[in-house]
């Protein structure tokens, strides 16, 4: 009896003595965090496969809009473990994305063993978000630059900078207070468009239409749209559709807020 148990336990470990169950748990948490920080499905699959190959296990995963399911087998395909993990939405976080990819390469290159990988993963999952003030300033500058790219003059750039600064700060405050993200997008686009209409209202600058139009561009969910296309090309239609719908709903909310600002300021754009 004892012999049988010990044999079974041996079967549950890989050649490098990494328990299949532990590998499954690690890989599912890894995939959930990677997908949560806005990585594409192809990247997640590649990274997980890279780690699984190094550890001598076979893995397959199902990616759903809110969950990820991973099944891991041992070498002989005699024992398997399956885990469903809720995708940990951390917001778009390229720092976590890069660190997780680096971790997978370090594991593949043999620089990091299983215990070290677990410790590093815990550390990565606690990575704080980027400094909000820096993001606020850079987003405002980027949006003002957008205005310039479309041919806006210096006054319009200043108006767009102010509109983005106010709108983005409002977005940060509302999301900190756990407000609904759709309501947040609506409010931010409404106030940004009203501030962006300053060129029309006070007669500032020669390109008030550009200031008004580009004042809400910072709210466009570009990364979800790009990820949606990437997933579509890779054949992950469920994930692609989910990402697209999320982005489309946010775009609809920002358009509604923009139209609200347009109506409030009685601007005859159409």
């Amino acid at each position: 009896m004892t012999m049988k148990i010990s044999t079974t336990m041996k079967d549950l470990t890989t050649a490098d003595e990494i328990p299949v169950k532990e590998a499954c748990l690690f890989l599912s948490e890894y995939a959930a965090l990677l997908l949560g920080c806005a990585a594409t499905c192809i990247r997640t699959e590649k990274n997980v496969k890279r780690i699984a190959d190094t550890w001598g296990v076979t893995s397959e995963m199902i990616i759903l809009p809110a969950h990820v399911q991973i099944q891991v087998w041992d070498n002989e395909r005699r024992h398997s473990f399956r885990n469903i993990e809720h995708i940990r939405h951390t917001g778009i976080h390229f720092d976590i994305n890069t660190q997780l990819s680096k971790l997978s390469w370090n594991i593949a290159d043999g620089k990091t063993n299983f215990e070290e990988a677990q410790a590093i993963f815990k550390k990565i999952s606690k990575t704080p978000p980027a400094n909000p003030q820096t993001v606020l300033l850079l987003a405002s500058l980027a949006n003002a630059s957008f205005c310039r790219l479309f041919g806006g003059d210096f006054i319009s750039m200043l108006i767009v900078f102010a509109a983005t600064l106010a709108g983005f700060r409002l977005k940060q405050i509302m999301l900190e207070k756990k407000a609904d993200v759709r309501l947040t997008f609506f409010c931010c686009s409404f106030f940004s468009s009203v501030i962006g209409a300053a060129g029309y209202v006070f007669g500032w600058g020669n390109t008030p239409e550009l200031a008004f139009g580009t004042s809400v561009l910072y709210l466009i969910p570009g990364i979800p749209y790009i990820n949606s296309v990437s997933d579509l090309l890779d054949g992950h239609y469920v994930s692609s559709f989910a990402r697209f719908m999320n982005a489309a709903v946010l775009t609809f909310c920002l358009s509604t807020g923009f139209c609200g600002g347009l109506l409030l300021m009685s601007l005859k754009w159409f």
Binding site: V201, L264, M265, S266
Partner: protein
């Protein structure tokens, strides 16, 4: 000053008030958290140091 300007100023004023409200609320919550931390920093060892037989030490509790 036309109606459009008045509406614009009122809307921006509302947003400005919202920012002030958020800043005050944040300041209050920070203050509350600091008070909470102060409560946690009570020297409990000293608090329970007194001897039940010697009630002179009991006054030490007021300092905590």
């Amino acid at each position: 000053m036309n109606n459009q300007m008045i509406v614009w100023l009122l809307t921006v004023g509302v947003l400005f008030l919202a920012f002030i409200y958020a800043a005050i609320e944040k300041w209050h919550s920070t203050k509350r958290n600091q008070e909470f931390i102060d409560l946690n920093q009570i020297d409990y060892e000293r608090m329970y140091e007194y001897d039940y037989e010697d009630f002179d030490n009991y006054e030490g509790l007021d300092d905590c």
